[in-house]
Symmetry: C2
Subunit: 517 residues, 2 copies
């Protein structure tokens, strides 16, 4: 699969391209990690860390054109911090900044003018949707955005590929000496998993909080010895956008049928037994698979080992019913997850490094039996696109998609074969987010396909009487319903480089063609 | 004080000497930390980590002459791991090894022959007592031992001054993927604080356990992504030596008088108020001071912030009575501390880095109001020796002594003026462990001395009617009881270099003269 994608050797504004070389084939230089890593900085003993005004704090910091500032996305679409900091930096006339948020949401649309005026010229993220993603697709960012995965980001930070000058860490709970957590205060978001690498490695770490507690903060997730400054602001986010009250299982009968068939795949795979580990996204069909699994585990009295990833109330319920002994939580999706993370010792936080970094000594994704994932597009090689829409516009990114697919014993994609009159399976995916060699099964409403690399699995599913097709057959079924989709109109200009989790380049995203009037 | 100690510019087997330059005066090169730091190592995905036999594991490891192997001391005088590993390396004929245990106890006397035969030629530690310390004093180690503090050790590891090839981490609880804790199993020792820097930075990390639990281990203190191998052995230690059942307050009336006077000093210092933070060692007099403080805080309805350091049941009781809101625990001294650490979220673990590294962004010692410490010797400059006995023989080391003294607002030394017919106060301490400029008060059974640097404190204690003397006066009192002590007979050969917590050299220890027959 590696050799099918044509990549330039050099990308202006990105540099030399090391092409994707297989799931575990990328270069790994044991001697490199620390070389480029940004220096630690000693604090003067007893120096006060607390500031109550962003501008006074910025006066203290070593700000310069071209620097990299990082953010985490645990406040999701309710985040105030990224916009406020960047607008203040714009006001100071800083230029050519690189921002490195772990994800970007529609609320960050306020930053589009900063792309246009050259305040922000570089962007490194794992996921983006909304006006800022549109602006990148339209070529408004000077240099190509780098899009990596939730495991690729801590890898890049820890290995020095992404040196951070200042990390701004939104902290729902903090004390004046910089102990931080995500479970206190009005903006509680749960685990702060994606912020750990930034806290460990950034030259300067600024916590931004709207809720100070007495020293020392209990519990502490990110401790004081990693934090230079604490900025107290009025509000770090809008709780309505931070976590949803509850996450919803799909009610669509087609989605529910896919979920039932996905469960049959899991059952036939022989992985549904004591000690099972499981991850699913927070999408409606994925949650429906979790619900099916819950019923199956109860019926067969199976006790699982752990559930992992971004956590929803569904997973919490399964742990509380004794179906999983533990949860590894990198990010809480709803209030039930936040509550459980706060209360239950078996609901453990994990950093992005522990979750999914391919270059550490054993990430949690490597211990996964089953992961259930979605897809925007697939192709006959089982490649998955969750980065761009079929029009070529950026509307997502890997998040943990590529990481869990590579780590899990069984990677299952669940999707309708046709959505909004667009077929799932294309000649070639518009953008490769997750390489097909890490994907085992596709379950659609009109049949199931097994990756030819997994002959054992094909045999097991066939023996179970499941409706198996080749990808070519499923593709033809889809096209019979919709007609062959027209190819995407794009220009030559590269607006984003898609890095695989190991830092190699797996694909590029090109500027979308101007809309016809 | 810095210029009073004559240090060579170069020490054979150690290298160039950067002399101590004041509490916060040592060199700090922000760009240096990562440069020499040992590389991380990626694990093959899904590689099994578990070995059940030390020799099979050693066959897998990259063993070579001159390498550095590290250990932690949470199993204290009950530790089996250091001896077993080193004897196995000796058997394989390895030479010129550097060992870097965070402390050494009498149980490690079995390693003396390895000094004699050249298996071990270098030693880096924070504390040592027993036959191995004697052997170093007698010149049996080829190169000078480096003796640092509990904060200096993680600093050295994180900054690359002490690169570790293999860290062997004794783990009372573990799972097969290398999640580790100190609270499970028959060898439970509590916090694993001193092992964190090793786990983060060693090129190879081997967990050694006698208690495997189901994956994932709950709670986990050191996570799997830092651990390369898990070695399951029969026993990692002797519980009788790991923690004492309970730690005992002195019953000696002289010790109790010192404790009462120390409390008067604390009260006069104006630091005994809400929000108070406090640390004390586990010695009998220090524990008596804690008991006095407990009574005072109850009587005056004072609620403290935190107690820190190595933790005893005394501190746990004070937290459980509501006198401290939290505990920062780097090491549990007794079973009560282990129990509390396991059960109580407010009893937080801390790494040696968080505890006391002078070059991070704010260690817990910097937040301490009061620390109570012991002393083997002092001098008129308030320098403290807890490294060597008055005969010049190594029988201890800083541990957290120099760290807490530098960090705390008020550093109080409690000691009898004369012990076993030897006066506490000398012309010059045999070895400087903790520089006098970080020591505020000495409380003895025959009077109190205040460091002239703390005029404010002298005035407060004088106003409180406490029996104040100069160090010269106390020294004369001691000598009136014992006569002037004879000077220590030592040779020219340097057997240990005492590093201050910032990596500068504060003193050296010379080989003791042969005993007269």
């Amino acid at each position: 699969m590696a050799n099918k994608i044509k990549l330039p050797e050099w990308i202006e504004g990105y540099g030399a391209v090391t092409p994707y070389a297989g799931l575990w084939g990328g270069p790994y230089d044991a001697a490199k990690p620390q070389a480029k890593r940004p220096p630690r900085r000693a604090s003067e003993p007893k120096r006060q860390k607390l500031y109550e005004d962003l501008d006074s704090l910025l006066d203290e910091l070593d700000l310069h054109d071209g620097m990299t500032v990082s953010f985490h996305h645990h406040l999701r679409n309710g985040d105030f911090v990224l916009n406020e900091v960047m607008l203040a930096l714009q006001k100071r006339g800083l230029k050519n900044l690189r921002i490195a948020p772990s994800s970007l949401f529609p609320c960050h649309g306020a930053l589009v003018p900063l792309l246009e005026d050259g305040t922000i010229t570089d962007l490194h993220t794992d996921y983006m949707s909304g006006p800022l993603a549109d602006a990148v697709s339209e070529g408004k960012l000077k240099h190509p955005a780098v899009m990596t995965s939730h495991g690729g980001r801590p890898r890049a930070i820890l290995e020095g590929d992404l040196p951070i000058d200042i990390a701004f860490i939104a902290a729902p709970g903090a004390d004046v000496w910089g102990n931080l957590n995500g479970v206190s205060g009005p903006s509680a978001c749960g685990s702060l998993g994606y912020a750990h690498a930034d806290a460990q490695c950034a030259a300067c770490v600024v916590a931004v909080t709207d809720h100070l507690e007495e020293y020392p903060l209990v519990p502490t997730e990110i401790p004081q010895h990693l934090v230079d400054y604490v900025l107290k602001v009025e509000r770090i986010g809008d709780p309505r956008g931070i976590v949803s009250g509850t996450t919803q299982i799909t009610k669509d009968p087609i989605g529910l049928k896919i979920a039932r068939d996905a469960l049959k795949v899991l059952a036939a795979s022989q992985l549904l037994k004591d000690g099972l580990s499981f991850q699913t996204g927070a999408g409606g069909i994925s949650l429906a698979v979790a619900k099916e699994l819950e019923g199956y585990m109860q019926e067969h009295r199976i006790t699982g080992s752990f559930a992992s990833g971004g956590i929803t109330g569904s997973m919490v319920q399964m742990m509380e019913k004794g179906l999983f002994r533990a949860i590894y939580d990198v990010q809480c999706f709803d209030l039930e997850a936040v509550r459980s993370y706060r209360e239950n010792a078996n609901h453990m936080g994990m950093s992005g490094d522990l979750y999914a970094n391919p270059h550490n000594k054993g990430a949690v994704v490597n211990n996964l039996d089953i992961v259930i994932l979605g897809a925007t597009e697939m192709d006959e090689d089982f490649n998955v696109n969750v980065t761009t829409g079929s029009g070529g516009r950026i509307m997502g990114g890997s998040g943990g998609h590529a990481d869990t697919a590579a780590g899990a014993r069984l990677t299952v994609i669940v999707s309708k074969l046709v959505s909004a009159r667009i077929p799932l399976i294309k000649d070639r995916v518009t953008t490769v987010t997750t390489p097909g060699e890490s994907v085992d099964v596709l379950v659609t409403d009109r049949g199931i396909a097994v990756n030819p690399l997994r002959k054992d699995l094909w045999a097991a599913l066939e023996a179970a009487g499941l409706p198996l097709y080749t990808m070519a057959e499923l593709k033809a079924k889809g096209e019979a319903l919709t007609g062959r989709p027209s190819s995407v109109a794009s220009t030559e200009r590269i607006v984003a480089v898609v890095e695989y989790r190991d830092g190699t380049v797996i694909d590029v995203v090109r500027k979308i063609a101007p809309q016809k009037p």
